[in-house]
Subunit: 216 residues, 2 copies
């Protein structure tokens, strides 16, 4: 499979955990290609048995497609761990290189790398590394935007998006931090939360769809 196809597949896989419907348009935006190109690629991926997609209908990964995608995500996230832990890349900078390395890794390499890194459970953004945990998946996380007021949650994962990560860094929040959701601002959909040290913080409406939490 070509690197490009792998990227399409990974994009579709990751959209599954973003709580948004997977559409042709969404893919074309993320991949920066025209809609016809997406349709063409979907047909190609469908003909190879990675997904099902009847015209104008839902896009669903087959078990085979899911398995392959999981391996791609696993590979990607293991490289992210390497880049962050060993090569000392800042979290908001690992994505690009991990993407490149991902397409240059065969199965054996990934196993060796996994051993070397000592079977990490999560990538630097908090994403589960498929295969290293016991059945846990990203799907267990909830979006911060969906949490009702006055609820205590722990940040477990954030989206691997450069611009968001820049913003996230400026908030002085870290993965694993525990926060309490205080109030959803009706006016602009921003969210006020309280940090462990008692300080209050407002998180923008867009960002709360990029932060995943678990109840605490």
């Amino acid at each position: 499979m070509s690197p490009n196809k792998e990227n399409y597949l990974k994009t579709i896989y990751e959209l599954n955990y973003d709580f948004t419907k997977i559409t042709n348009k969404r893919i074309s935006e993320i991949m920066n290609v025209s809609a016809p190109s997406v349709t063409e690629m979907l047909n190609s991926l469908a003909s190879e048995g990675y997904l099902t997609h009847s015209p104008y209908n839902k896009i669903v990964l087959t078990p085979k497609g899911n398995k392959v995608s999981e391996k791609l995500v696993r590979t990607h996230r293991l490289w992210e761990v390497f880049l962050h832990e060993c090569l000392k890349y800042p979290v908001d900078n690992v994505h690009h290189n991990a993407d490149a390395l991902e397409h240059a890794s065969d199965d054996g390499l990934i196993d060796h790398l996994n051993d070397f890194l000592d079977h990490p459970q999560r990538c630097p953004h908090g994403g589960i590394i498929p295969g290293n945990g016991q059945g846990e998946t990203d799907a267990d996380d909830k979006l911060l935007s969906m949490i009702p007021d006055n609820t205590k949650v722990q940040i477990v994962r954030v989206s691997d998006n450069y611009d968001f990560l820049q913003y996230f860094g400026s908030l002085n929040l870290e993965i694993d931090d525990t926060i309490t959701v205080l109030k959803h601002e009706k006016f602009d959909n921003s969210l006020v939360v309280e940090k462990k040290d008692g300080s209050k913080l407002t998180i923008g409406a867009k960002a709360i769809d990029y932060i995943f939490v678990e109840l605490r």
Copy 2:
């Protein structure tokens, strides 16, 4: 530049240190393509200023081509060190993966990797890692086949060729071993050498063009 072009360039660069003339045919053998494909690629590389090559004439890297090739070799060899030292790949198995990773590495990544590996001087085959030493190059090595009888030499480098490495392993020789050249067999061009422990060993005619040594 495409990965393929990079491979051509690297091949040409490495032939410089093999004491054989760089010919179209040699390249086509190494790269497993037809001769016309080589000519085509040489023209393309020449038009981009990486080498000079008038028809039926010598192939010579320009300073620009040399610089790029050196970086490619540096990258390749650093990955080889990583695969061997960190991921525990056997020496005869690092090449394939290093090649893939090489094309997925940007400048920053290589610098970080170099730091992480603590600026190694040589790759697992003994090849110099350009940029990490002080002016030393592979060109200082001599081919074992060129050494006169009754000379003591140290193996400093071997060619990064899978089949050869298998054979080399079976000889129970290691890089850095010191051996004494005893006799060039006129009949079949094989070479008899004496190991440090006094045992004698015959090395085939083909292999002595894959082993590089320094006088001791």
